[in-house]
Amino acid sequence: MPQLLWDASALAKGYAPEVGRATVRALLAAPQSVSMLLSYVNYAETCAVLRRQLNRGVIDFAAFSAARSLLRSDVFLRPNLHIMELDGTVILASIALIDQHNLNATDAAILYAYLDYAQAQAAHAPKSVLITCDVRLIGAATAEGLPTLNPETFPLADVSAFLASA
């Protein structure tokens, strides 16, 4: 079973009517044997996009409040979802990814931490897969050897097989 490394661009789809929403919800509902990782920054980024849609009148407060509740439960109440902290050493080292892939500072730090996490896993550990619909991040991750899954293009029907894969 793969380990899922979440990016906010994909996670946000789980809280709104969007292309790929069903795939995201199916991934989030993966059995507890599937380990997931999310950075604090990505959690805050997802909270922020919900707030912006409320402030713009795209969603009402009831929908906003419900989405924030579900997001909080998904991230903090799932025993198989782990939260990742980034410190100064990671941020400084990630500047190499900014230089190489033209990423912004936050994305570079998160990608660096995910790459570090993936490389730290034992050889027999499940493969780590970055879940994102950020094309720039997909390009950078692919170039660095980290597999990706874009829920906008990944069929719901294939999720079970993906989660069962090595």
């Binding site: 661009s9 790929g20 919900l50 929908a63 989405a67 782990h82 939260i83 902290e85 410190d87 936050t106």
Partner: protein, 71 residues
Amino acid sequence: MSVDVYVASKAPAADKAALLQILDDVDARAGIVFDPDMTAERLDALMQTQRIRPEDNIFSRDILRARYEEA
């Protein structure tokens, strides 16, 4: 309640109870009454009333615009 933290650094992991207290405070300041029983199906029903076209990918595109001006 489990809140596992992977630290991509040498810094100590945050205290779990402290994290949840922070979230309670954040929600209270926003007027959100955290509903631990919220489900994707209930959220779906609420979102159906918001006149959002799924093909616009409003939320995820907004995240990309916040990251990159040209997105």
